[in-house]
Symmetry: C2
Subunit: 303 residues, 2 copies
């Protein structure tokens, strides 16, 4: 059993590669749920749906969001009526969200619902939300505590960040057990601050990871901040916006960090920090590169 920790964009690309080289029954994906919320009346768990659609080969790869070929009739009509959706939702995608909303109302837990949905889709891999309890990111800044969207949208990431705090939520029922049963844990190249650390900060996860062979793929290549304000967050928390910063952030639970060819010169420094390093092409621009990266990760343990 191989376990993958995933956010919503970088890691799903890696999952496309893993699908080609691993039996899907032997794959469990643990997915970030921080900032899940209601939009347009429905419960939106963005990262989970991206993972489900990726596993089913139905993800819209143009936006890395929603269903390939989906229509936007409801959303377009709402916009025409002067109420554009905060998140543009496709018609089929909305059905997936309505199903979650209705089942939550009926008392099902998010992990039960996701398991029902992945079975309906015929997905053999397990997909496990990090928690059945909703959680937030709170940003402590020089102008006080802000919630994630206030900081991002209203304040346009301008305040100086002092700390990033995740809600204290319990792990989903199978979460810790799934990590414990895995031969190997892969931390995909998702945003460390908004996708990976919310999972790692859940009670018991960091400890479970320490006991396992964990390979992470750096989401940062060169010194380009990953999407959004992650660079600002990393700086604020005292980390370099580079693979070095990722290594520092992950060092107490990661055994090997895989970095891009472009960052080759950082490899010895990273080896010093986490113990082991792999250098390869991590820019997943084709299925072949995704497959190669997946194979490169899988053979890590035997190196």
């Amino acid at each position: 059993m191989i376990c993958v920790l995933s956010g919503g964009t970088g890691t799903p690309k890696l999952i496309q590669g893993l699908k080609e080289v691993v039996d899907l029954k032997d794959l469990s994906i643990i997915v970030n749920t921080v900032e899940n919320n209601y939009f347009s009346g429905v419960y939106v768990s963005g990262d989970i749906d991206v993972v489900l659609y990726t596993l089913k080969d139905m993800i819209d790869e143009e936006f890395w969001y929603g269903i390939k070929g989906d229509t936007y009739i409801t959303s377009e009509y709402l916009e025409k009526m002067g109420t554009p959706e905060k998140i543009r939702i496709g018609d089929r995608d909305r059905a997936t969200m309505i199903q979650k909303t209705l089942m939550l109302e009926e008392g099902y837990s998010l992990s039960e619902i996701v398991d029902i949905q992945r079975k309906y889709l015929g997905i053999e891999s397990k997909v496990i939300p990090m928690s059945d309890v909703d959680s937030d990111i709170v940003i402590e800044t020089d102008i006080g505590q802000l919630d994630f969207h206030e900081f991002l949208i209203e304040k346009q990431c301008k305040p100086t960040v002092k700390d990033v705090v995740y809600s204290d939520v319990p792990p989903a029922p199978e979460l810790i057990e799934t990590i414990e049963k895995s031969e190997m844990v892969i931390i995909g190249p998702s945003n460390p601050i908004t996708s990976i650390m919310p999972i790692v900060s859940i009670g018991g996860v960091r400890e479970a990871l320490r006991d396992k062979y964990v390979v992470a793929v750096s989401p940062i290549v060169g010194t380009e901040p990953v999407s959004g304000p992650a660079g600002k967050f990393m700086n604020a928390l005292g980390y370099d916006v580079s693979a070095i910063g990722v290594a520092e952030m992950y060092k107490d639970f990661v055994d090997k960090l895989i970095i891009d060819n472009e960052d080759k010169e950082l490899s010895s420094k990273i080896k010093d920090i986490v113990g082991d390093v792999g250098v390869t092409n991590t820019m997943m621009k084709s299925l072949d590169i995704k497959k190669d990266l997946a194979n490169f990760i899988l053979k890590s343990r035997n190196d």
Copy 2:
């Protein structure tokens, strides 16, 4: 100004006729909102939407529900996933409902929202929900109090009905004033128990109607119960399931009852009960018949 009390099916057909013969600016429609509720995550005010779509010539006349030519992509996908919607909602229709849901969340009242929507649609007539506060129908039966859906669906209308009780909700802000300002009030051929009496039972409405010239169209022709359990309710409340029963129910606020040619022999009896009677074709199977009925109603006052 002419004011119409409307439910969701019979009266909208009459509105189609009125549209042809009255300046739309001179028409105000007061609409039943009892049993408005959330379905599939969105606020559904069925009768209001039917009235809006009818005024805009976009009603789906096959079902007298939803938008003509609408698609059902989300609904069909939900059904395919094993979660059929309790109410099948079209994709454009869903947008209308999402807009209401979002604006209710933002703190707008239902009547404000409906006014914004009718203006967006370019509808010149006012459309006024009977109340901004949600209300229910409670059925008192031999097996105890049941809510409307329990009685209708779970108990399949089997228990003996003792009484029908409407929630005590305040009128929408413009409701009483609209009636008071009207030269004439038309009570359309909607279900008396589930559409008309919920409006009439709102505080101040019955009194306002008594001061006005009110013409009602009987929704019952012959002794056929109108759709649903209305016949059972009418019987339980001591009324005949006939135009006579309608006359008895409406007598203290209606000046004239219009009945179908088929019920011609009831006309003198009905005249005794309500004071005046009109006999014409009320089976609105074509636009011409709708127009004729509208004209017949409008000239009532001068007869």
